[in-house]
């Protein structure tokens, strides 16, 4: 990998070319808030706009999302300017108006000095009460898990992740990767009596032969066996007892 030097907040760092600004900043202890970025998902990022930073290049300045802007030679990044803070605060105020019940957003907004919302707030406890429509869940499902059980449906403010026609999906394996990846905890995943409920569907869990804890949906085991050729007996025990 070609190494280049990039300036972030006045300090020069060595970085691998085409790495995103966010990664390079984090590797070097510079904090840039983000919500929709996940290093495992190439198509993620760019939608929540929380990680906007100033990019100075060839005498030109623009705001770019740190999570998908590739570092290049001669690039200077400023993560803490009046403009960056103003726009970041604006984005967080809008997110707070959208999901006033989200702890994560409340805390992130408070950290930027946004404590109240001057605009109409969306009602709490509605269908998408914590969802910021960042699409990380659908990207993880498609790219990491590889099943395309959910997709972003609709457009504008009503856009949300959903299974086709909001019906139990034929292909969902109940792995819950979407719920784990969600930055605001908006995806409901419930487990009771060895059954996991997610996306309108119940999944029977495999119990660990040692401790008896239900720990993985059968459908997920089927999927992994099919994809990797791994021996099914491997899943008899939970990770703690393997």
């Amino acid at each position: 990998m070609e190494k280049i030097s990039v300036v972030i907040d006045g300090r020069t760092f060595e970085a691998e070319k085409d790495y995103c600004v966010l990664e390079v900043a984090r590797q070097n202890g510079i904090h840039i808030p983000s919500l929709c970025y996940n290093s495992e998902v190439t198509s993620s990022g760019g939608s929540c706009r929380v990680c906007l930073v100033e990019a100075h290049q060839r005498g030109r300045m623009r705001l770019v999302t740190a999570c998908n802007f590739p570092v290049r030679k001669g690039l200077e990044i400023k993560t803490d300017t009046p403009l960056v803070r103003r726009i970041r605060r604006g984005v967080l105020e809008l997110l707070l108006a959208r999901v006033p019940d989200s702890e994560v957003i409340r805390e992130m907004a408070a950290a930027e000095g946004v404590t109240g919302v001057r605009f109409r707030k969306d009602e709490g406890e509605n269908e998408r009460y914590k969802c910021i429509a960042c699409a990380l869940c659908t990207n993880v499902c498609a790219e990491v898990v590889g099943v395309h059980a959910i997709a972003m449906v609709g457009r504008g403010a009503d856009k949300k992740p959903a299974t086709p026609y909001n019906k139990p999906s034929d292909v969902c394996i109940g792995c819950g990767a979407c719920a784990y990846a969600c930055p605001t905890g908006a995806i409901q995943l419930k487990e009771e009596n060895g059954v996991r409920h997610i996306w309108h569907k119940d999944f029977k869990m495999v119990r660990c032969s040692v401790c008896g804890t239900p720990y993985i949906p059968e459908a997920q085991v089927d999927w992994i066996v099919k994809r990797t050729g791994k021996d099914r007996s491997f899943f008899d025990k939970c990770p703690d007892h393997r």
Binding site: S47, R49, T65, F69, L83, G90, L94, I132
Partner: protein, 618 residues
Amino acid sequence: MGAINSIEELEAYRRELAAAAKPDLPTVLVCFGTGCQAHGSRRVAEAFMEAIKEQGLQVDVNIGFKTTGCHGYCENGPLVVLRPQDILYLKVRPEDVPEIVEESIKGGRIVERLVYRDKVTDEVVPHYSEIPFYKHQHRIALRHIGTIDPTSIDDYILVGGYAGLAKALTMKPEDIISEVERSGLRGRGGAGFPTGTKWRSCAAVESDVRYVMCNGDEGDPGAFMDRSIMEGDPHAVIEGMIIGAYAVGSHQGYIYVRDEYPLAVRNLTLALEAAREKGLLGENILGTGFSFDIKISRGGGAFVCGESSALMRSVEGNVGEPRAKYIRSVERGLYNKPTVLNNVETWANVPEIILKGAEWYASMGTEGSKGTKVFSLVGKVNNTGLVEVPMGISIRELVENIGGGVLGGKKFKAVQTGGPSGGCIPERLADLPIDFDSLTKAGSMMGSGGIIVMDEDTCMVDVAKYFTGFLVEESCGKCTPCRDGLPRMLDLLTEITEGRGREEHVAMLEELCDLLTWGALCGLGTSAANPVLSTIKYFREEYEAHIRDKKCPAGVCKALITYSIDPEACTGCRLCAKNCPQNCITGKRKEAHVIDTSKCIKCGVCKDVCKFDAVRIS
């Protein structure tokens, strides 16, 4: 005739067509554009065919008959042009046809009641090229529209079609790119990126595959120049794309057309088939060894799919959502391959530029915006429709000379340019030249070239609310500022227009605009602030009147107006009382009437029907 195997053969074929053509032959051109067809031009054409067939036996007049693309003067359709006399008949109905055949075709006389009559001077103008709407135009992109049959490739070849391609194929690809660069052509889709520069960047990227694309999505309400070109002169677009493909080294092209344009899809499909048959498209074009083909991709009509990166996602079969263009499409576009995407109008200009040269094209327009631009002129103006004029024409010239002035003699207030995310420019800046840079500087943009004329009865806060509402509906919802910011802007504008506006609302609007401009993901989001920003900038006093005085100066915002009857002007004719749906107008015959404002729903029917201008809005 089958495939044309060389450039020489194409020229020979053109001479053959020219020899067979009879330019003096009387020709009836019936517009088959979408607008005229909606007005019934198909039945008019049928009536002509019938009349000609019937009378052809009696009189020795041989009549050429054609159906053409849109002439742009759609509100006066169906349009019929008679050649060689160059007479334009407006609003022709099937029952008018026998008279036209008898009087004009056989008798050489003009049917006066069907020709253009100037609304101001009352002067009768029978000849197409003398009508003010056409006289001031300079047509390049629209050069053949209305004169050729878009379903006939021979028609196109006869008027010089594919000669640009023939010339291009004798040039080096590098020289074609230079020619386009020197012409100064900038993307007609709205952003105005230099076309030659785009091609050069794409050609420079190392890749086994390159794509050439045409953006025919055209989502702006009221704009229909791309539709008109695709319907009326599809070969011009195809020829432009083949030239572009040869220049950048592409072998596969796509035309993305919104599915709401069925006639465009049909005519493009026919044109592609005809071009393939003639050896102008496909393998070994004109025997030069260069191969290139084009597919049509139909879009579902989402506004955002006109945005280049969303369009490419859509062609790939994914949901059309824009991406951050930190890596440009010329490097990684369709299927991650280098891609040149140009708009319909841009492609239609290319063959003429190659044929007539960069200097010819660059001699028109302004320093930074060369050539001509097609505008769709609509709103409160006498002549509406598609017009092509040199860049740099002033707003006033466009509205007054071509548009024939503001409708009903009202006061000209502003123009809105650039589509829903464009801005409003006030009358006092009407001498501004229309080009990419001056429109942007004024807080608006070129966009698709939509120009909406507004008169004194337009409330600018209401205008901002209207366009913001459109954008709320069409936001794809991918990024926070656009998805959640626009609805909040609409909230504030609604509060203001309904009389609940507070002093701080204007500042809050400006703040949200700032957030969109800096923070939105794609070009549509970053420009979505324009309607609000430009109206605040030029018409702040109207916002203040709504907020501070709870008044709508233009008398539009229902919550802020009351209707009353001027007792001096009222004649007591009772017309308003008869038409009032609330029955809240009372008064004896021949005595001044009164409106009971507690029951009035402000529908405005009384004002519309009053013949004495006695109904007042305050």
